[in-house]
Amino acid sequence: MGRLVPHPLLSLALVGMWLLLTRFSPGHLLLGTAIALIAGRAMAALKPDRPRIRRWIPALRLGVVVPWDILRSNIAVARLILTNGRRGTRRSGFIRIPLELRDPTGLAILSMIITATPGTAWIEHDRKSGVLILHIFDLTDEAAQRDEILRRYATPLMEIFQ
């Protein structure tokens, strides 16, 4: 794509947004495309690290797994709130997760997944050691919950971006 379209994904997303916000017509497609290209070049002037998607299949799989997991967590947390934490037996706590994921875009997406999922909260991450501290609303099995986050989200994100 090179110099003319320095940020193809960003430009594509902007065209999509423009067409969603206006009624679709060839004129708007043209105008939106022009604006998206200018915005892409403006972005290039800021010289951000360009995220590179290396593999699409794990990305598509994440797009299905994540909304489904978030739905399950919604139901689980809603039930815990309704039952007053299984009548006071719910235990919350922190877990430390050593991450091998280093890509900034991957980490940003991981933080979105973890924040959007009820029951897990992103508390702290250290870039040097890669250790992530999460707060878990319903801490039942520390090792299993750590493995689940690594297996379901961190590993696919590494496959996508690293």
Partner: protein
Amino acid sequence: MNHLADIPLWIALPVAFLVVAGSSLALLGTIGLLRLRLFYDRLHAPTLGTSWGIGAIVLGSMLLFSWLDSRPVLHEALIGIFVIVTTPATYLLLGRAALHRDRAKGSANLPNAAAEGADPPKETAEDTVPD
């Protein structure tokens, strides 16, 4: 709002279900925020509203207005996308502020897993330091 009376049942039922489910999740989130005791626990409750709470309401709205306008009306999806993209910044800020306060006080709320910090021994390392 009289045109709403013309909506057939097969579209009204899923729309009603989605909107009621979404708003119930948002309501439960606020109840949780009110009733939970620990600050870190309270962080979790409002995420009900910012995940499928808003998700279900947005889907219901998309469904209803797509039918009413006889064309796909999808711009509500942007609300959902922006909520998902922007909430981590707020939660990170809140979580780290609480952690900082509790560490400074040596609070009993913090078990070993969080008391030490994610950064290795030398306390100068911060997220902002590039590799």
